[in-house]
Amino acid sequence: MLVFLAAALGWLAWRVLVDFKYDWQWADIPQYILHRDSGGRFQLGTLGQGLALTLRLSVWASALGLALGLGLALARLGASLYLRLAARSLVELSRNIPPLVLLLVAFYFFGAQALPWPRLAAFIRDCGPGVQWLAEAATVRLGDLDVFFPAVAALAIYEAAYFSEIFRGAIQAADRGQWEAAWCLGLSRLQQYRLIVLPQVFRKTAPQLAGQFISTLKESSVVSVLSLAELTYSSMKLAATIHHLFEIWLTAAAMYFIFNFLLSLLFARLERA
């Protein structure tokens, strides 16, 4: 079996490296990640900027997804039948729709036709260069807000379903005796959650939450279909400019891998600390 696998891999490598007759040109690639400008300062190239945008997208989507996921988990465990049904519907909807389709739906619901993004952009511009710089550093060029927000919303809804399941499991795993003891002490339902249950839930679920963040980072590549210049779309643009397909996509894959792998190492270390 192993011999067969090795032979298959070898054949594949031979096809790609020799039979394909691909003209490898790696020298041009690094400057698109990082280069020195004419003043000698380091500047991010288009791929570096793409990775930075991927990161911003994922941080916003995960933060919103965490909040929404916690809300959904609490709603599903709450007393109100209406909330339970609504939360269940949302979780099932987003778990059973492909993220790409969810993204396109979000684009038409939260994009420029439905919400006044150009007016918001103009408002931020009027607030002065300082505010504009801050807004653009935290999100994206103002002209792209109408794509950035739907993208964040779609990723957040998609991830919220998974976050809510993680939270729900952990809340239900809290010992029944703790709820009863808290109730005996005269704590309200809110206080029981806030003081007793949720602190344990966050501690217990930290590894899964970290894993889900990395998964958000990977999912965010679907946003490239909206022409938002995160790492995947940046790579497509670079491919159309310099035509070194294999080098560019191997570089993009390596950038995703190295970044996510370092993050997972960091999270593992934080857990032990």
Partner: protein, 283 residues
């Protein structure tokens, strides 16, 4: 007269091999007062002037529009758009958009105008309005030496067993279907994928806008060749607007005519398509 614009592939090939002497170095686009006067007073123009920004939709496509390592855009379309914006007295804001979605994005108001070598076709005319042509593009063919050697006419490729690759949603795909109705057409999201199909031998030929096929043959002469030289078609390309901005057409047409008259469009075209002087701009 427009045929003159079409760089014959032989000239392109020779120039690329010679490293491209400076034929017509065009300077940075500055406002031209006479051309600017042609644009004044139009409602669409006034709306853009009051906003201070002309938002331009296009897709990345070497050498029409390319992205530099620091994320700026350069290319033929970019230079035309910058000249138009300068004459409007506004900044150009470039909104790169994947080709398949470029018309919907125009119609939903993501940008004001498409300046992206959008070929003028009847099908597109039903959704957008076009200005007079400001450039012409032509389709060319390249073939694989390994899987389709020694062919010298289009008829050699017009057979069911021949697989032709083209970029989806482009006039290249339409041209492939019209020129080679018997052949099997396979479409891809990018031109580079069509080239890879050719290299791997899965497609026997590809059809794409000149000068892409000639450039491929020059880069890998042992694998890829140009069976039929010159361009197979000549397609007028216009700037596209949403139909609700139809009233802007006379002003834009007058601007294009003025830029033809001074041969500025011609010189700009030959700078991007007949030389490689711009390669340093990608840094």
């Amino acid at each position: 007269m427009f045929k003159r614009f079409m760089p014959s592939l032989a000239i392109v090939a020779a120039l690329i091999m010679m490293g491209g002497p400076a034929l017509a170095q065009t300077g940075p686009a500055g406002a031209n007062p006479e051309d600017a006067a042609l644009l004044a007073g139009n409602p669409w123009v006034e709306q853009i002037k009051s906003r201070g920004v002309l938002r331009v939709g296009f897709d990345i496509f070497r050498p029409w529009a390319m992205e530099t390592r620091s994320g700026r855009y350069v290319g033929f379309e970019i230079q035309v758009a910058e000249a138009l914006a300068a004459d409007l007295g506004v900044e150009a804001e470039f909104v790169p958009t994947a080709w398949d979605g470029i018309i919907p994005a125009l119609l939903t108001g993501r940008f004001d105008i498409i300046i992206g070598s959008l070929g003028i076709t009847e099908e597109r005319r039903q959704k957008v309005v076009f200005t007079d042509p400001y450039s012409f593009s032509g389709m060319a063919i390249a073939a694989s030496r390994r899987s389709a050697p020694n062919k010298t006419s289009l008829a050699d490729f017009n057979r069911p067993e021949i697989v032709v690759a083209a970029k989806s949603g482009t006039t290249a795909a339409i041209a492939a279907r019209e020129l080679l109705p018997q052949a099997t057409l396979k479409t891809f999201d990018s031109e580079d994928q069509t080239a890879q199909e050719l290299r791997s031998g899965k497609a026997q030929a590809l059809i794409a806008s000149a000068p892409y096929p000639a450039e491929l043959a020059l880069k890998s002469p042992g694998e890829i060749y140009v069976p039929v030289s010159g361009t197979l078609t000549s397609e007028p390309c216009g700037m596209a607007l949403s139909p609700k901005n139809r009233e802007a057409l006379p002003a834009l047409n007058a601007w294009i005519a003025a830029r033809f008259k001074t041969r500025w469009l011609e010189k700009t075209w030959s700078y991007w398509f007949e030389t490689l002087d711009w390669e340093g701009l990608l840094k």
